[in-house]
């Protein structure tokens, strides 16, 4: 296991998304696209071909009216830690284009390293990875709004959410410049967290008991980060992917949708 060299403790950046507050407005999706130079094309209705690092799913309880109910669930990359960094995608990448950072707990994706075999896409149980089937194009003057902090991708490679890691780097630059090594909780926030009109997304260091994410999710480090908050759950918990995105819901059917259960279970 690798150590960190950042003086302080290793971070484990994670997210708690309150599904009671999420209204499915889609701001997080667009906040992500506009922050990360995500391309777009004329027809985006084939969702298998549509690149959305952050995707809001619409769940329902499968019942008929009047018991029918819906819930919206935003899904970024889960930044799975697996067992000590053995994330599903990292372990299958033949090019070391994707890697688990023990210093921050974020799964990186290096576009120039990727050669597009898509093993990682097959391995990801959350469909959080996207393939560039086409070269991106920004018509008219739209290239002007591209952010220099994120490299535009090319055709033939895989891309995904990286918890706006460039924002961490910018925040660290500022901290170093001011003679600090550590960030305040609010200094590094992802674009979706910042935009969410509902304030449903909370982002921070799961290792830091003072951070809201830790206080809300109460991750149990002895059991692969399983949440101790009874309303909190993670997607496909039983796969052992040890994701860093926690969800909150007061509705049981929503919590149950997070995993696959046999009818006779529980």
């Amino acid at each position: 296991m690798k150590n960190n060299h950042n003086n302080g403790k290793a971070k484990k950046f994670g997210m708690v998304i309150d599904l009671d507050k999420c209204t499915g407005c889609g701001s997080c999706m667009v906040a992500c696209m506009s922050e990360n130079n995500v391309p777009f094309k004329a027809d985006e209705t084939d969702k298998r071909l549509s690149i959305t690092w952050m995707l809001v799913y619409k769940l329902n309880n499968g019942k008929s009216h009047p018991d029918y109910d819906e819930c919206y669930l935003p899904r970024p990359c889960m930044q799975c830690e697996g067992d000590h960094g053995h994330s599903p995608c990292v372990s299958v990448c033949p090019a070391v284009a994707t890697d688990y950072s023990h210093e921050t707990g974020i799964v990186s994706q290096i576009y120039t390293r990727c050669f597009g075999c898509r093993y990682c896409m097959a391995a990801c149980p959350y469909h959080a990875r996207y393939f560039n089937w086409w070269d991106p194009a920004w018509p008219a003057d739209m290239e002007k709004y591209l952010s220099p902090n994120v490299s535009p991708r090319m055709r033939g490679i895989v891309e995904k959410c990286g918890f706006c890691f460039h924002r961490y780097q910018l925040a660290m630059d500022k901290a170093y410049y001011e003679g600090r090594d550590e960030l305040e909780e609010g200094e590094y926030q992802t674009s979706c967290t910042q935009a969410c009109p509902a304030g449903a997304i909370v982002f921070g260091d799961l290792n830091n008991p003072k951070h809201a994410v830790h206080k809300i999710a109460l991750p149990d480090s002895k059991h692969g980060g399983r949440p101790k908050n009874p309303n909190a759950f993670r997607l496909l918990e039983r796969l052992g992917t040890n994701p860093k995105v926690y969800y909150l819901s007061s509705r049981k059917w929503v919590r149950d949708s997070g995993d696959n259960y046999r009818p006779d279970e529980k």
């Binding site: 009671d20 889609g26 906040a31 009109p197």
Partner: protein, 754 residues
């Protein structure tokens, strides 16, 4: 020495060996891998110094504060402005995509003059000087004919200096025909005028409410002030306020509500009165408020001494839960329990105006719901509706009028607003096509269109286009090539909201009195001009008293002068919150349950709040057995701004699939019609037909079909044009007999397999 085959082999072996003793292969391999990682056509964004510009979003009327990140002179990201009273750092998907509009391919880059047929897309570039010259000449000529009232303007707001300049231009020209795009606020304005006797606008203090009874208001679907509403929703969750959503389809608002009451569409007023019945019967209303401020709750006498039934008696007699249950399709028990919950809450509020609030509500429903607030004293109280005085910072000297102007301004408005029939209405844009199409010569000879896209947003697109084709001169100020701009004669492109100075006053629905200042985030990209400047130039070109009414050098000078000592603060902070210690509007501290203002016909209390009249939908029930209702989503803009590519990308494939709109149908209804998920069908209404796909949803009542608003554009670029169906093309408006506003909530329809 003989050079043979072997020598060549030796040479090539030597070369091969030699080349491997040089760095060439390794270096080339390295370079080639770098080359393949950096195709020249993949853009490399230029780095540089980052900076932020604070401004105001101009994509809807909510007026959220924005903070735009720039790298050198490029704008690269729009974020919410922290601390802003409307959105406090948060932002919606439309606001986030503003840069796609700024830098996108739908901009009008220079003034254009039509050379082909209207709408054929043939334009000639024209200089600003010449275009001002040509239009001012035409206007002068038109004015000389003695009918200055034939000049009209359409605008999305009557607030802010640009709208005021436009309105002032019309006034000195001699026309009263300043037409505002209608919305739910138009209905609220009329209701407060009638029942509170106040001309102020309604603010919603929802953050402080503890029980929100929403009659179809899409609080989480873009209603009035989308980001603020979603923020309020989170506050409700934290403090366990209760939200009850009454509508026939499970919108996002209904899905997030504590209770969803699936009501028969068009019967909201009956339910409101049923709830009032229970509250009155159980004596759960706020006696103090009703006695102190209320009029017409009990029996009352008019000026002639004639006695009228009070609101109380009418409601008790006609709207028993049993009656209401039959009209609305809701259980008696549910009606009673909602009424009791509402009445027993400390700070309840009742809201109406469906979807994103872009459409008005029929007056009966509005008054019935407003009466519920009065019963609980939720007017001008914490957590309720607040009647906010209109912004008053634009104080220009009265303009000098000549004879033509004084005469023209006295003529009745073309839409009849403020006239005998629709006395309370300020503007009735919805009536314009009907009025124009009914006359042989259009009563409007010239139409100026600012911040509006009527050809797309108005009901019955065919009739609207017919009406517009009868107007000889249409001038659009749109920065984008939208439907109306493409159908105009001249386009005088405005800067986008990210390139111009512009003030905006208290946003609709806001409790706080705000003034915000939009500032240029980037220098104008193209040969465009602030519409304020264009109006000032037009006025100056026309000379005489018209020029005199516009004494400012340019728009910027006008803005600075108008804002006076506020300018400095606004330029620094971007917004000002007016002091809250201003005494509430005393005129609005009353409530007329009898709505005397509209009950001039004293024999029958025709439009009393205590009244529900089922609306007769257009079309025959046997031919059109289904009812089509529109719905709004945060992921589609249905107003004067087209949905940008990023936002279209977020639209689910159950709303838009390839180029087809999907309609929600209950599986029961679909089974009866033999339809399954994804079927392509023809949707027919008495007005029009369209090809759509079927989406089965348990979240809609049987017998209904629902179509999303905001699709079906013919203008803009390939990212929006030609996608889906425009609901506005499928129905003819129903005019409310009292308010004059469009009160359509649905239209009869049928579905047949394609």
């Amino acid at each position: 020495m003989k050079i043979d085959r072997r020598s060549f082999l030796a040479l090539s072996i030597g070369s091969t060996a030699g080349i491997h003793l040089t760095p060439l292969p390794w270096k080339l391999m390295d370079d080639m891998s770098i080359w393949t990682q950096n195709w020249p056509w993949t853009p490399v964004p230029q780095d540089g110094a980052a900076s932020y510009v604070n401004s105001v979003c101009g994509l809807c009327t909510a007026g959220c504060g924005i903070r735009v990140r720039k790298i050198e002179n490029r704008a690269v990201k729009i974020e919410g402005l922290p601390g802003h009273p409307v959105n406090d750092g948060r932002i919606c998907s439309l606001g986030l995509s503003g840069l796609q509009l700024l830098y996108g391919g739908t901009r009008v880059k220079t003034p254009l003059k039509r050379i082909g047929e209207r709408g054929a897309g043939q334009w000639q570039k024209i200089s600003w000087k010449q275009v001002i010259d040509e239009i001012s000449k035409k206007l002068s000529e038109q004015r000389k004919s003695g009918n200055p009232q034939t000049l009209g303007a359409i605008c999305n707001s009557d607030r802010g200096t640009t709208s005021h300049l436009l309105n002032r231009f019309l006034t000195v020209y001699g026309s009263p025909n300043f037409l505002r795009t209608p919305s739910v606020q138009s209905s609220y304005e009329i209701a407060t005028t009638i029942m509170n006797g106040s001309s102020g606008t309604v603010g919603f203090d929802l953050e402080n409410s503890d029980y929100i009874l929403s009659f179809g208001s899409g609080l989480l679907d873009g209603w009035v002030s989308p980001v603020r509403m979603i923020r309020a929703h989170s506050i409700w969750k934290d403090k366990k306020a209760r939200v009850v959503q009454i509508e026939p389809r499970l919108s996002h608002t209904a899905a997030k509500a504590d209770q969803w009451i699936a009501i028969k569409p068009g019967t909201n007023a009956a339910l409101a009165l049923g709830i009032a019945h229970v509250i009155i019967k159980e004596k759960l209303y706020d006696k103090n408020f009703v006695e102190k401020y209320g009029f017409g709750f009990e029996e009352w006498k008019d000026e002639k001494g004639q006695t009228h039934k009070g609101f109380k008696q009418s409601v008790l007699e006609n709207y028993t839960p049993a009656n209401v249950a039959e009209i609305t399709g809701i259980d008696v028990a549910a009606i009673i329990s909602v009424a009791k919950d509402f009445a027993k809450s400390a700070k309840p509020v009742a809201l109406c105006g469906s979807g994103d609030g872009g459409a008005p509500v029929n007056l009966n429903e509005m008054m019935a719901v407003h009466a519920l607030n009065a019963l609980k004293g939720a007017i001008n109280n914490k957590g309720g509706l607040q009647i906010v005085p209109n912004p008053d910072y634009i104080l220009w000297p009265e303009s000098e009028m000549d004879k033509t102007a004084s005469k023209g301004i006295q003529t009745e408005r073309v839409d009849g607003a403020g006239g005998k029939k629709y006395a309370q209405a300020r503007s009735l844009l919805n009536r314009l096509p009907e009025v124009i199409n009914a006359s042989s010569e259009s009563p409007l000879q010239t139409l100026l269109v600012y911040n509006a896209n009527p050809i797309y947003t108005m009901a019955d697109s065919v009739a609207v286009k017919e009406a517009f084709s009868k107007i000889p001169l249409i001038v659009s100020f749109s920065p984008y090539m939208d439907e109306t701009a493409s159908y105009s004669d001249y386009i005088l492109p405005n800067h986008t909201y990210l390139e111009r100075y512009e003030d905006s006053a208290t946003p609709y629905g806001s409790v706080q009195q705000l003034i915000s200042l939009a500032r240029p985030v980037v220098d104008p990209l193209f040969n465009t001009k602030q519409t304020g400047d264009v109006i000032i130039s037009l006025a100056k070109a026309m000379g005489g008293h018209i020029a005199k009414a516009f004494p400012w050098k340019n728009y910027r000078a006008c803005l600075e002068k108008t804002l006076g000592d506020k300018w400095k603060t606004l330029a620094e902070h971007g917004y000002i919150v007016a002091k809250k210690d201003k005494a509430p509007d005393t005129a609005s501290a009353k409530f007329d349950f009898a709505a005397q203002a509209v009950n001039t016909d004293s024999k029958n209390d025709a439009v009393a709040p205590a009244d529900f009249k089922p609306a007769d939908l257009d079309g025959d029930v046997t031919a059109f057995p289904l009812v089509l209702i529109p719905y709004d989503t945060m992921r589609l803009a249905s107003g004067f701004v087209g949905t940008p590519p990023f936002v279209i990308k977020t639209v689910g494939d159950y709303i838009l699939k390839e180029n087809d709109s999907c309609v929600d149908i209950n599986p029961q209804t679909a089974a009866k019609l033999g339809l399954t998920e994804g079927n392509k069908v023809i949707l027919t209404t008495p007005k029009n037909k369209a090809s759509v796909r079927v989406h089965l949803s348990e979240g809609i009542l049987p017998g209904l079909i629902a179509l999303p608003r905001g699709l079906g554009h013919s203008a803009y670029d390939k990212f929006l044009a030609g996608k889906g169906v425009n609901f506005n093309a499928l129905y003819a408006p129903m005019t409310d007999p009292v308010s004059g506003l469009d009160m359509t909530w649905g239209v009869r329809a049928k579905i047949s397999k394609a």
